[in-house]
């Protein structure tokens, strides 16, 4: 079974790597965004799927990375690759600053704090106009780099999924899960929950920052509302949930399925699409909170690293 999966993985990667040679512009941008959502959903999974601490403002790292990279590219002439990487670092720094105090909060309060954090970042970014262009946003110099961004996003998605695999199949991952299962017992058994939560949180903030930077380069223009929307957080959460949070491939599966549906089926009718999306959220929450892989795992005793 494992060999088959491994083979599928290798073949799939090769196909994806070769794809830009045969794809249309639309096809490349489609896949590029798909990679982005996979990366986002998986990053959310690292903190919330594993430790159970629901980060309800995770898009804050995305937006911070986007603005950091955009400023570096537009104002200081950096190349988008190191700029995006720095965006990731910015995300981690933000996580470090708020992580320690916020992670001490219990369930609902942590969620609300993260929500508030996102709004704080959005408003701060609007305020420091000199740096960020305020409500007018930042325009990046024109550059057609879709193919390179395609590979960069793909790399980000692979990196975070590989991280998820390494964590989930290790005792570090098990210890993170004990925090989700029973934090008090975990602490009593010698797990330094404060430190572990922080590590997971920092890890989960890096890729959204990088991907935010790549997104900024890809779009060519960002503004506060476009990179700090609550809808983005919700989307990445629903994707991770749909596929199965706490698993390695769940977020990948969920992101792929939902994004494909979104683009192919609903993007034509904006309001209808949103209503349907709302319905999907309700459906997932009420009827399949464990997600596809979560259910399969329980039923067939599959490995979590699946």
């Amino acid at each position: 079974m494992r060999k088959v999966l491994l083979a599928a993985l290798v073949i799939g990667s090769i196909l994806l790597a070769l794809y830009p040679m045969v794809a249309t512009g639309y096809g490349i941008r489609f896949m590029l965004q798909l990679f982005m959502w996979v990366a986002l959903a998986q990053s959310w999974n690292l903190i919330s799927g594993l430790t159970g601490y629901v980060s309800f403002g995770h898009v804050a790292f995305f937006g911070t990375g986007a603005y950091t990279a955009a400023i570096l590219v537009a104002t200081h002439g950096w190349h988008w690759a190191p700029a995006s990487f720095t965006g990731g670092i910015a995300g981690v720094v933000l996580a470090l600053i708020i992580g320690y105090p916020c992670l001490r909060l219990k369930g609902p309060y942590f969620a609300i704090a993260m929500l508030g954090l996102n709004e704080v970042m959005r408003v701060l970014v609007s305020y420091f106009e000199g740096l960020t262009g305020g409500g007018l946003g930042i325009s990046l110099p024109i550059l057609y780099a879709s193919i390179q961004i395609y590979y960069a996003m793909g790399l980000a998605a692979i990196a975070v999924t590989a991280t998820a695999y390494l964590i989930i199949s290790s005792r570090f991952g098990l210890r993170l899960m004990t925090i989700r299962e029973d934090e008090i017992a975990a602490e009593a058994m010698g797990v330094d929950t404060a430190r572990y939560k922080l590590y997971a949180f920092l890890l989960s903030a890096f890729i959204p920052g990088v991907v935010g930077g790549l997104h900024a380069r890809d779009q060519g223009y960002i503004e506060p509302l476009s990179v700090f929307p609550l809808l983005t957080t919700i989307t990445m959460i629903v994707m991770a949930l749909f596929g199965g949070k706490g698993t390695v491939w769940g977020p990948v599966l969920g992101a792929t399925m939902l994004f494909v549906f979104q683009e192919l089926v609903w993007a034509r009718f904006l309001y209808l699409h949103q209503i349907l999306f709302g319905a999907i959220i309700v459906f997932v929450v009420l009827l399949m909170p464990r997600g596809i892989l979560g259910v399969l795992q329980q039923r067939y005793h599959l490995s979590r690293s699946l």
């Binding site: 508030g116 305020y127 309001y271 999306f277 709302g278 309700v282």
Partner: protein, 292 residues
């Protein structure tokens, strides 16, 4: 930003703050009830407020009668909507991990907001009814805000009377303290939850009606009220109903005061920064609620 801040300006700002605060308190009380009784974080609260606002708009548009009377329509309508939502969906995420209720109510919110956009378009609407202000010396009190203050206070007092003196109200409070014990005491907890969501939605709807006479109406107007209600109950302490009152007043004051000293943009941030600060420093609220 002015250099000289006169007492009159401060007085104006304080009064404006209190006027706005009463509205926040009333709306936040609804959110507090839902969280207190069911541990549900209702992101759709502001959306219901928005629907209340549209009810008032159409009332005034189609009937031409005093929009304040539309409260007689918006409150019952939102009450029924609340019952429906609770009965069909919210009841399943009660006592579930908070992620479930967050996502569920967000899903409901998105669906409702977009339905509103389909039905009403996102054109800005307004209810032109009361314009102008009462002038008391150096202080000008906008008529519509004054009336909204009075109505909000009346409704909130009514709500508190209800919670303290009626059987249903006491049952609600008992359930929010300990639902298992309440059940053992013979309280029909599922039905209490139903009524709670209904009442909370009615409060939100009332808020929407009052806001409709003051501000412009559009489908996405609710989100900011949801956030502010969160802030109010965190300030006052979750599960602490009188705390929601003070929290609302505090928020109103802080908002208006900060608009005196800061730009409008930053004063918007003040609410959120306050939220995060209070959560980090005193998660049980300034008045201390339950540390859950």
């Amino acid at each position: 930003m002015s250099i000289f801040i006169t007492p009159a300006m401060v007085g104006q700002v304080v009064i404006s703050g209190l006027l706005a605060g009463a509205l926040y308190s009333m709306v936040a009380l609804g959110l507090a009830l839902i969280f207190g009784v069911m541990r549900v974080i209702n992101i759709a609260h502001g959306t219901i407020l928005m629907l209340g606002a549209y009810t008032t708009f159409w009332w005034f548009q189609l009937l031409g009668i005093n929009p304040y009377l539309s409260l007689l329509a918006s409150m019952p309508l939102m009450f029924l909507l609340g019952l429906l939502l609770q009965y069909t969906m919210v009841t399943r995420v009660v006592d579930a991990p908070e992620l479930s209720s967050l996502l569920l109510t967000f899903g409901i919110s998105i669906a409702l907001v977009n339905l509103a956009q389909l039905a009403f378009t996102s054109d800005l609407r307004s209810v032109e009814f009361l314009t102008g202000a009462f002038v008391l010396g150096p202080i000008a009190l906008s008529k519509s805000r004054l009336i909204s203050f009075a109505v909000a206070v009346a409704i909130t007092l009514l709500a508190f009377w209800f919670l303290q003196k009626t059987k249903l109200g006491k049952a609600i409070r008992a359930t929010s303290q300990n639902s298992e014990v309440a059940m053992v005491c013979g309280i029909n907890v599922p039905r209490i939850r139903l009524y709670t969501f209904g009442i909370a939605s009615a409060l939100a709807g009332a808020g929407g009606s009052l806001v409709a006479v003051i501000f412009a109406i559009q489908p996405e107007m609710g989100q900011v009220y949801t956030f502010k209600s969160f802030l109010v109950i965190i300030l006052g302490g979750a599960g602490n109903y009188p705390g929601a009152l003070l929290g609302g007043m505090l928020l109103g004051l802080v908002e208006q005061l900060s608009s005196l000293f800061l730009t409008t943009q930053l004063s918007e941030a003040v609410a959120y920064v306050l939220l995060v600060l209070v959560l980090l420093l005193r998660p049980t609220g300034l008045l201390g609620g339950r540390a859950r």
